[in-house]
């Protein structure tokens, strides 16, 4: 019993120390008023780490470039949320202690929904690079998206398939325990119905069953689907591609922006992805100067071709830079002052970035820009 008392005392001391350490962090805010502190949360570890890391790297490159331009200076910090809402709120609070003035929200949707509520509550402006669910922006006037919202992706995909007459019979496989995948599927199905696309096979899978797709593929094959729509992340898609190949089933494959990253996936035979089409706002092989420079820089630093998440993050920083310059924002402003300025700027400005030119934002925080259709040829994305 005595021992427990000692532990209890030590524990209280431990907690008190932690709190004091926390205060130290908070107090530093006033000293470094030379750069606006931009923070974001994302999965830097775990299954979705590829997105968090891409965002972190893309944003870091942009921050370096922007700071070299002069004018408003940024300081960027990313905290790990392991793709979990609870950890994302913790990470967000850690960033607040660090003195975050503008937020990049979260990289993925479920954490993004949780941190968006915090952003709204604390009046810290957020521009998320890639949290695409509508729940992220819904009801929050100061949370904006750089990527397309999920419903837009679904309807744009259906539109694209119908306009280009890519298929007569469409099969869909989607992940029904995933916000992103089921969100896109729902709007895809509605829009496809309106456009008269013939969906002959709809099958689902979950996180626990994403190792075997033979049943789903067989269903699509029997139904005679000549195009398979795969609104999912690349990890599951890569298995579908290889299992379809094993079965000797070769429809056209059509993905969404989550498919991005499939070419750099370890252990995946990139040849299988030949001919896969996807709708994504960014292509690493575009020949404008800015994209070229960004891709070269990213490859030099990290040894891989940047995906759309990196480009979205890069654009986020530039969009914030443009907004801060226009509004005359300075580093000594509080988060709340910046919030008001940013909200005004983002609803009125037009932004040209890597992921689309002439992008504008609605008051609800959703972006308007044109998606590009891409097809994988010889291991690289080529515009369609």
């Amino acid at each position: 019993m005595k021992m427990k008392k000692v532990i209890a005392t030590a524990m209280v001391g431990f907690m008190a120390m932690g709190m004091l350490a926390g205060c130290g962090g908070g107090g530093a805010k006033d000293d470094a008023a030379t750069a606006i502190k931009v923070g974001g949360t994302g999965p830097l570890t775990g299954g979705a780490a590829i997105y968090g890391l891409a965002v972190q790297r893309g944003a870091e490159i942009a921050v370096e470039e922007v700071n070299a331009l002069g004018g408003v200076q940024f300081e960027f910090k990313m905290e790990d949320d392991a793709h979990d809402a609870e950890k994302a709120v913790n990470a967000y609070n850690a960033l607040k202690d660090w003195g975050m003035q503008i937020s990049l929200g979260s990289v993925t949707s479920t954490p993004g929904t949780a941190t968006a509520a915090e952003n709204d509550n604390d009046r810290i402006f957020a521009l998320t690079p890639s949290a695409s669910a509508t729940t992220v922006t819904e009801g929050h006037d100061n949370v904006f998206q750089m990527c397309f919202a999920d419903p837009n992706q679904g309807s744009a995909s259906a539109q694209y398939i119908a306009d280009q007459q890519l298929a007569t019979k469409v099969g869909v496989i989607y992940k029904n325990d995933d916000v992103y995948s089921s969100g896109i599927y729902e709007t895809f199905a509605t829009r496809a119905n309106e456009l008269g696309l013939n969906i002959v096979s709809t099958t689902t899978f979950t996180t626990d069953s994403q190792n075997d797709f033979t049943v789903q593929l067989q269903d699509a094959k029997n139904a005679g689907a000549d195009l398979l729509f795969l609104p999912m992340y690349y990890d599951a898609a890569s298995l579908i591609l290889s299992q379809a190949n094993d079965m000797g089933y070769a429809p056209k494959f059509f993905g969404v922006d989550g498919m991005d990253g499939i070419l750099t996936m370890e252990g995946f035979n990139a040849e299988l992805a030949e001919g896969v089409m996807l709708l994504t706002p960014f292509s690493a092989d575009a020949d404008d100067e800015r994209t070229k420079a960004f891709v070269a820089k990213y490859q030099e630093l990290h040894g891989e071709v940047p995906n759309q998440f990196a480009a979205d993050a890069y654009d986020c920083i530039y969009a914030l830079y443009q907004a801060c310059e226009n509004a005359g924002a300075t580093a000594d402003m509080t988060a709340e002052e910046l919030n008001d300025l940013m909200m005004k700027e983002f609803t009125s400005m037009t932004f040209d970035g890597l992921t689309g030119t002439g992008a504008t934002w609605t008051a609800e925080g959703q972006v308007n820009k044109a998606p590009k259709g891409m097809v994988i040829q010889n291991g690289v994305y080529v515009g369609m």
Binding site: A8, V12, M15, G22, T45, N93, A94, T110, A117
Partner: protein, 357 residues
């Protein structure tokens, strides 16, 4: 002081636990009042309370009843989802968030208790590994059900459906949206309410353990055959402990869910069950105080390790292993005991019985 001395050992130990929780609460409240608390810690206060309640309620099943349950997060999930739906309904008519939260907790607790009975009746006839396996499966079933559940609220009332969203609603809003989980949760959980819940649960558990029923439950744990031979009804006492534990987990779930604006079903998976079990095992089976401390430390720890960035979880694992070894190591225990004795005797007399330490 005399009163303290005359109390029996258990009562005194319980009082120390209550006191510890109250002191921690007062310290934190003081820090909030003076604004010297970091946002990081402040944001974790409610989750800590929820995890503490989870830990002590699981300790009732694992430590007091002596049955290994690996599906505790399932009860948390059942409570969280039903409680939040209830909170959304109540908040249309009741403005006071505290009352809404209390009502939601009651609903969440009752639903989790009902689920506890449904699971407990067939399952508690098993024991040991078999029970662990079935509770594990139960946790997954709850997750699967909630993940395919759609609940909407409009002027006409609540609408339910499973698997595919076929709700025909007249305006209104979605409360549970299948895999997207709870959306637009009213954030009514507060640290004070968390503290009250912890105290209530501690009170219930301590009084249960010291009652006739509690002794029957512990007798079952220690020797089932002997307990049966003196006429203790095995199933009903097992069920009692199991259901109380489930109800508390349900209430913790409501507290947890109403602290975040969104909660998904996959949050309450086997990992969360194991995490809570780790709190219990590390804190000591049957020791409520240990569970509270372990739950607090292990919830705060990953956040404190943020400066290690990507090595964070590695360091976390190492700290966990070190803690496990240290708390079970005879040499360390003796050293700590000796230190404690030295510390407490010095106050009374300088003579010391250091020879013993």
């Amino acid at each position: 002081m005399n009163y303290l001395k005359n109390m029996n050992k258990t009562t005194r130990s319980n009082m120390v636990t209550y006191l510890m929780v109250i002191v921690a609460f007062v310290i934190v409240q003081g820090m909030i009042a003076t604004g010297s608390i970091s946002s990081s810690l402040k944001g974790q206060l409610v989750p800590i309370c929820a995890y503490v309640v989870m830990a002590i309620s699981l300790n009732l099943t694992v430590g007091i009843l002596g049955e290994l349950s690996l599906g505790h997060a399932g009860f948390m999930s059942a409570g969280a989802f039903s409680g939040v739906v209830a909170a959304q309904c109540f908040s249309q008519n009741i403005d006071n968030p505290v009352i809404v939260l209390i009502l939601a907790m009651i609903v969440g607790g009752i639903v989790a208790a009902i689920v506890g009975v449904l699971v407990g009746v067939p399952v508690l006839r098993l024991s040991g590994d078999y029970l662990a396996i079935v509770t594990l499966a139960f946790g997954e079933i709850i997750k699967g059900i909630v993940m395919n559940l759609y609940v909407g609220l409009d002027a006409a009332g609540l609408h339910f459906c499973m698997i595919k969203n076929t709700l025909e609603m007249d305006g209104g809003k979605m409360l549970i949206n299948g895999p997207m989980g709870l959306i637009g949760v009213p954030r009514i959980a507060t640290f004070v309410m968390g503290f009250v819940l912890v105290m209530v649960c501690l009170f219930v558990i301590f009084n249960l353990v010291n009652s006739k029923s509690g002794r029957a439950i512990m007798a079952l744990r220690d020797n089932k055959i002997a307990a049966q031979s003196v006429g203790i009804n095995v199933t009903s006492y097992k069920l009692m402990a199991f259901v109380i534990s489930a109800a508390m987990a349900g209430m913790a779930g409501v507290l947890f869910a109403t602290n975040f604006s969104t909660v998904v079903a996959s949050k309450f998976d086997i990992n969360t069950s194991i995490l809570v079990l780790v709190f219990v095992v590390l804190g000591g089976l049957g020791s409520m105080r240990g569970s509270i401390i372990a739950a607090t430390v292990l919830t705060v720890l990953p956040e404190m390790l943020r400066e290690f960035s990507e090595y964070r979880m590695l360091v976390y694992a190492i700290v966990l292993i070190v803690m496990m070894i240290a708390t079970n190591n005879a040499t360390v225990k003796n050293a700590l005991d000796g230190f404690a004795r030295k510390f407490s005797f010095k106050k009374k007399s300088e003579k010391g019985e250091n020879a013993n330490g």
